[in-house]
Symmetry: C2
Subunit: 724 residues, 2 copies
Amino acid sequence: MTLYRRFLISFFLILTALSAQLKAQEKRLFTLEELIPGGKEYARFSPRIPARYQWYGNRLMVTENDSVWEIADPAGKSRKERLLTFAAITAAPGLEQQQVNRLSFPQEGGAVAILHTTDGIATYDPENKRVLAFFTYPEQSAGHDLSPSGRQLAYTKENNLFWQDSEGREHAVTADCDKGIVSGQPVHRNEFGIQKGIFWSPDGNRMAFYRMDERMVSGYPLVDASERVSETKPEKYPMAGMTSHEVTIGIHDTRNGETIFLKTGEPAEQYLTNIAWSPGGESLYVAHLNRSQDTMQLKRYNSMTGEMERTLFEETNPKYVEPENPVLFVTGRDDRFIWQSKRNGYNHLYLYDTRGRMLKQLTDGSWEVTEVIGFDAKGANLFFLSTLSSPIERHICSVNLKSGKITQHTTVPGMHTAQLSPSGRYLIDRYTAHDNPGQIDLLDTRTGKSTCLAAAADPFVRYAMPSVTAGTLKAADGVTDLYYRLVKPADFNPAKKYPVAVYVYGGPHSQMVNNRWRYGSGGWETYMAQKGYLVFVMDNRGTSYRGLAFEQATYRRLGTAEAEDQMKGVEFLRSLPFVDSESMGIHGWSYGGFMTINMLLRYPDVFKVGVAGGPVIDWKYYEVMYGERYMDTPQENPEGYAESSLLNRAGNLQARLLIIHGDEDPTVVMQHTLQFLKASIKAGTHPDLFIYPGHGHNMIGPDRVHLHAHITRYFEDFIHRDKP
Amino acid sequence: MTLYRRFLISFFLILTALSAQLKAQEKRLFTLEELIPGGKEYARFSPRIPARYQWYGNRLMVTENDSVWEIADPAGKSRKERLLTFAAITAAPGLEQQQVNRLSFPQEGGAVAILHTTDGIATYDPENKRVLAFFTYPEQSAGHDLSPSGRQLAYTKENNLFWQDSEGREHAVTADCDKGIVSGQPVHRNEFGIQKGIFWSPDGNRMAFYRMDERMVSGYPLVDASERVSETKPEKYPMAGMTSHEVTIGIHDTRNGETIFLKTGEPAEQYLTNIAWSPGGESLYVAHLNRSQDTMQLKRYNSMTGEMERTLFEETNPKYVEPENPVLFVTGRDDRFIWQSKRNGYNHLYLYDTRGRMLKQLTDGSWEVTEVIGFDAKGANLFFLSTLSSPIERHICSVNLKSGKITQHTTVPGMHTAQLSPSGRYLIDRYTAHDNPGQIDLLDTRTGKSTCLAAAADPFVRYAMPSVTAGTLKAADGVTDLYYRLVKPADFNPAKKYPVAVYVYGGPHSQMVNNRWRYGSGGWETYMAQKGYLVFVMDNRGTSYRGLAFEQATYRRLGTAEAEDQMKGVEFLRSLPFVDSESMGIHGWSYGGFMTINMLLRYPDVFKVGVAGGPVIDWKYYEVMYGERYMDTPQENPEGYAESSLLNRAGNLQARLLIIHGDEDPTVVMQHTLQFLKASIKAGTHPDLFIYPGHGHNMIGPDRVHLHAHITRYFEDFIHRDKP
């Protein structure tokens, strides 16, 4: 009790979630089909607002029931006026037999709507109700990217890059027979914020694109056993410390068909990240990162010649630098841009000129800018999301570039996202909070007035909801607050003893616990609570949005600080009088799979059950970019790799451990699990196994329901069993 | 009780095995390391006779403690005289640094011994203590085959065939760059009795060899994940109904380096089986079998020209013909040979002349010749093993070719094997029986007198041995006797109720229950009995040595009759007052893995636990030769394939089922298990899984101990659990 009280005192916030108004037994029971994405009933039971709000110029539009309405007076009574219907659009010449799946207004696109249809993409003039252009997607094409002018569509087919003109003619940009040369696709395995491989120039006449030579990278043989004759699908997979691919950046001019390449120089094994065009199109900005990832150089290239014009500045860090956001030019200025950096320990905004001089640090403090939204029309204020008021919330803020004054526009607690009207006056403010399944407000930045546009209903009103509370406890370093959530069965009785399921992720770029709907507690947690479990989730050091020191606490020793912190969570749980300390299990996926096994092997007497999905077993089998950022290479850090490898601890297994893997996982390859099985067999220990054939790193679709039934069954099989 | 009595009346034989002389609790407990092959202590606990008896001409020799002794007077006192020692051999010039692993006297080799040494093979003259020739095995070589003259060694390296002369020079017979053309190796996936791919002519100057073109066969991608960079090892795997390989037979003359090919003709997709040279070397006999396997033609080829000289005779069967034994020429006659055939329902011996005329059926009756041993010196009597006196025993018999008189030489019940002295007078008779761990007698065929040469000790004298009994029960057809064994715990108490582990194989070419040591009961059965289980094993219809009708009862419907018969076993078990019918499990490997899952899905309420290893799931994923023999092609027999497929029944799974597979299994490829998992996931059922990385169709070495610990744990986990 004393230990429990000590923890209670340290709570940062204790919030009780939804209180069940009716008694549990009067309510319906959940099924996994309702709770798990991919389940037959899931769509009905996922909180949602069946309306899509967006800006059309400065006009507020909503798409509902296949019509687009203008909301002239959000607070007024007769507030909506129909602009157009999908049916009318597809009646227009050129779109016969198409169905509109989604309509969007490009932020800077003038009087044009973009239509995503059954077979392609169209530009549409809503005023004159006229199809401007329609591009059908060629077979096997991917990565479709419409040019800003709307007159060209770029895409890839297999390893090559193409574009289509508005008459439907296809033009090849590259024609490499060797599948090891890949153009127009994301590179560097999607690290460093890379999500695409095609970058149109502002005028839409040229496109920059990634070209990746991965012929020298060893392949991992994924096997597709779904056909009678099984086939190998080799996945080029550069593993930590081994030869990586080589990337260059081309610029193709659609007017004359010519392609130049940026002279990005040596060493070829560098990371070319965060591509951005200058507003006038004369320059391309690229953040160079060396393979060691300790030095970033922002370089400007001449987009016509490919010559490197200037290294604007350099950022270094003894552990690693991780640029994830390209330069953002100040609206109306072609000589000033915003740069995001964690150089002072937290992610903040810096104003630079194009000669590389830092003009001003715009934000500062022990909080982070988490996302930049954009500028107002005059480029006077920059809007962004941040953790300014709490690490587990996101609020819409803005900074005045001249005065440096920061304004927090949202006050309602929760996780906010924003769409800014071009003028910069209004915000569509979409948010959830632990007690709010979802809401959309219109926010007037001038008056601060908020008007509710729509709110999601709680889909579980007829159910006995488990309660979710959040709180903090101290990390193993004794000073850092860690956030957790605790889910309790709907009919929770503090006089009873409950088994516990710890759900863990624990790796970089994550935050499991924050002030979103039910503190982020997912369907499986609800299901486990219904089965009579407490569920506990905590973000250990190494996770995100808490600053660089917090994140880098795990550097070169992945799994050590994380496990120590998770043990603090275990101590907390053990201190709770209603916890059955003899019946604790742990489950996680990917990094969380690593953490699950890691916990079982480092602290063999704590958990009775573990379920690890797609687990990293040894970082030397993981990819170069992510792996070397946190661990350096196996050659440079042999002790760290040995310390973090689960292979060396396989003999410690005492708990029941189920490992689950997709046999076509291209991210954490099956080799991890196979090697762990081999090590366990050799050590005489007995993990269990399940494979989802044909699945990648995550099980999606209906099989995800089966997965969670399987995980749950494993807990039920062994959580109350005595160890042998 | 009545049902039990009814079964009792039908018993063919009831034999009680070893009675435990001491009380169970006074004895030691078994460990899997003692009971399972690959276990650290297994060698000490496997019954064995550390002496190797063989004929050296008509002299009886024994190899013991690295010395070879002659036994001049087996019954006498001072019976042994040392002929040579391994140490003396390796002291001879030419064998320095070699260690002799095995010494054998070739049956017709004159005064020569064959030595298998550390790095190669040698011929040795024991009289003059002189090494005649020594062939070192080249790196990566396999399939070593010494010529009858001892002057050449043939072998394969990768896909090509070579031979080495006695001066150590290597000569290439084939030099195909394409790995899809394979020479000198066994073909047709080792069916039809094929165990090798090189066949020396009697004079040792020429060699016949198989050449297999499998370029047109689809490959199964086995993945070796043991190295950092995982690799695919594609296995050419022709699946039922798909394109198969094409085989031809070459004859290479080592004197002039020339190779001819037999004109084996079309269709290329035929089976060329049972290669045999004529005694004079002028002809080669080949049993041709069509792909449908319903017609066998025995053909004679001219070995110099490759021309087909004569089709001697043809055998057909509406289901299948399965030739497994080449022609055997009568000693001293080059115009007469023995042919084995099941044409009248049981495997018997037929005397033919080389024009293809059947001269005499030598054996007949509802029993089988199981193995031919050989002729006496005059070719008057042919010795063989048979089921003459019991289907679960093997006795040494002979038939006089002239009179047709059959003599059974062994009378001691059990499973006998034989080595005949060249004269034909003496037999080394090696046998075991349920109550005899192994014995070697010298048998005088003239007097019938038997002299014990050596006997194996019971390695388990200090242990409380479970009892093993054998008996019969009626098959589902109501008339056929099926043999079973039943293992009971050492401290068996008929007033108690025991859980049951059924061990099953059930497929062709097998006999699990016969009168060998402990009726063939293996280490895992002993271990399970120690854990308090009854273990039951029964040979259903479809298994071997019971005649063609018994074997072919499963034709085109694998899994149906077998399952019906196994259910008779279940009914028998249920009738036993000491069986806990609610706690029955089943385990099997390969065909037995198929049977295990088959039983769980056809009779979902019978077993609580099943463990299936390397299971066939759908015969369409199994290989051409075996698959089409029993099932025809999927195109010809779609209903049969559908009926036998476990994919279609995956939704019936109620029991706890653990599937185990080696991820490099080249026989029953992983696709079977992966497809079953997929079908189960779709059907919402939950099998469990384990994989042995790097293992093929069977787990061998120390991992086999882990395997049996894993299987046992699964039984223990769930045998007493209520179904959910």
